[in-house]
């Protein structure tokens, strides 16, 4: 298994380590998954090691045009330092990966993509990239997420710059107070809370993580709670809720498809779907009785299986089990009463929006 630069720190903090996407990662710390989830959700701050994700720089002339071809977004007209959530599409209009691409300048972009898709994405990008454009993996960088109501206040204490005006989905280049090293601070996250993802040199990562850990308001959070936090928000997880076979329109990511991009890979499938709708849609499922819904469980309506869950788990905030799945628009709509098959029981549930909680990210400045 590969290890991140924080591997020692996790073990010192008594994390329970598991294998994920080829990396040895913390699934939880002694606080436990439920309390770690509640720590972030209920007003404290959590730190997450997400260094297993791929970080890349794409640089060269007409870089923006290239990125606007392999995604449905428009990077030509996008603002500098705007972090766009988007998808890599294939010729059939399916999703290769979901990722965040930030414009540093017209000819230079910073990319963060999923660990489980890293090899696949590299191969795909290299197969499409024009010769003059460089595509470089930042293997000497770690990535640390800081998420929770007071994350701005805490992060500010460790850097020289003022980030109070940094808007949601924007990046600011900052320097560490400890040694003036340059870091990328992006006001993004996967929890629905205000927060940041910090791209930092491997050599600086452990000290930064331990400095953060020293704050009373901070707890380290594992991948278990990371998953339940995103599930409450309705954020999809690639390899579960998104795949090569799902289109961004079916996935509810139609907003990612720019109105000003009419020529990208898969556009002849995706653009008509955006205009006319498609016949299946990603929706939420919420159990109305006790039990836990999990990925792969069947969803039943009028004695017929209408779909399977692509994600599922327990929501500590709602105190019930929730999940996501794809359903034909003719067979399921929000409000429908259904059953989820759990082992040999059928548990009463309802179809909902996949967004179970309102994001608190929009309340960030500007």
């Amino acid at each position: 298994m590969k290890q991140t630069a924080l591997n020692n720190a996790h073990k010192q903090q008594k994390a329970k380590m598991v294998e994920f996407a080829g990396y040895e990662m913390p699934i939880q710390y002694p606080l436990g998954m439920l309390k770690e989830h509640e720590w972030v959700r209920n007003g404290n701050v959590g730190i997450f090691d997400v260094s297993h994700m791929g970080q890349f720089i794409v640089e060269g002339e007409n870089c923006a045009e290239f990125l606007s071809k392999i995604t449905p977004s428009n990077f030509i007209i996008s603002k500098e330092y705007l972090a766009k959530y988007t998808v890599l599409t294939n010729e059939k209009g399916g999703i290769i990966d979901d990722l965040i691409i930030t414009k540093i300048n017209q000819n230079k972009f910073f990319i963060v993509l999923n660990a489980a898709c890293k090899e696949k994405d590299i191969k795909w990008i290299q197969s499409q990239i024009p010769q003059n454009i460089e595509f470089e993996e930042l293997t000497e960088k770690s990535l640390i997420a800081i998420q929770g109501q007071d994350s701005e206040n805490i992060l500010s204490q460790l850097i020289n710059e003022n980030i109070s005006d940094l808007p949601y989905m924007n990046l600011q280049i900052c320097t560490l107070k400890s040694n003036k090293s340059q870091i990328f601070v992006s006001r993004v996250g996967y929890t629905g809370e205000d927060g940041f993802e910090v791209s930092i040199a491997n050599n600086d990562a452990e000290k930064f993580w331990l400095d953060l850990s020293n704050f009373n308001e901070i707890e380290p959070i594992g991948l278990g709670a990371r998953d339940s936090l995103r599930l409450e928000m309705g954020y999809p997880l690639y390899g579960h809720d998104l795949s090569d076979e799902t289109s961004p329109i079916e996935a509810g990511l139609s907003w990612v498809v720019s109105k000003t991009n009419d020529n990208f890979i898969g556009c002849n499938h995706i653009i008509p779907q955006k205009a006319n709708g498609c016949d299946k849609k990603r929706l939420g499922v919420k159990l109305l009785d006790r039990g836990v819904a999990r990925e792969g469980f069947n969803v039943i309506k009028d004695n017929k299986t209408i779909g399977k869950l692509t994600s599922g788990g327990f929501s500590p905030t709602l105190k019930t089990s929730i999940g996501q799945g794809y359903f034909k628009t003719t067979e399921a709509k929000i409000g429908d009463e259904v059953f989820v098959e759990v082992r040999n029981r059928q548990i009463k549930a309802e179809i909902t929006s996949p967004t179970f909680l309102q994001a608190k990210t929009k309340t960030a400045k500007k």
């Binding site: 439920l34 278990g224 006790r290 039990g291 836990v292």
Partner: protein, 122 residues
């Protein structure tokens, strides 16, 4: 109190066995969010899965250490599954079973032997 290799515990009094899972098992599972209790008067053979305990991440079967018929289940676990984590041997009991065949007790471990078994596991 006797223990199985799968970390169930059993206490027998007047031919009624109270069954639960050990602190070690509860710690390994993490905070439980749901317990599937058996039906009253259901009959099981030794080794049958008679309950399921679920954490955020996974579901685990609980095996009955003896053969018997379910007399009573701990309804408190419906609203407070975490009783198993906080009080594995007292308030976190899972079911009371009328013993039909307890010959398997001989093969189970006493408290000291179970402690030793746990040391060997780690």
């Amino acid at each position: 109190m006797k223990f199985t290799k799968d970390h169930e515990w059993v206490k027998i009094e007047d031919n009624v066995a109270t069954v639960g899972i050990s602190q070690y098992a509860a710690d390994a599972l993490g905070e439980l969010v749901y317990v599937e209790l058996p039906e009253i008067s259901a009959a099981y053979n030794k080794g049958d899965a008679f309950a399921v305990v679920e954490s955020s991440k996974s579901a685990s079967d609980v095996y009955l250490p003896i053969s018997g018929e379910v007399l009573e289940v701990n309804e408190n676990l419906n609203s407070e599954p975490e009783l198993i984590n906080n009080s594995s041997y007292e308030n976190g009991w899972i079911a009371k079973v009328k013993v039909v065949d307890d010959s398997s007790l001989e093969d189970m471990m006493g408290e000291a032997a179970y402690q030793k078994y746990l040391e060997e596991l780690s």
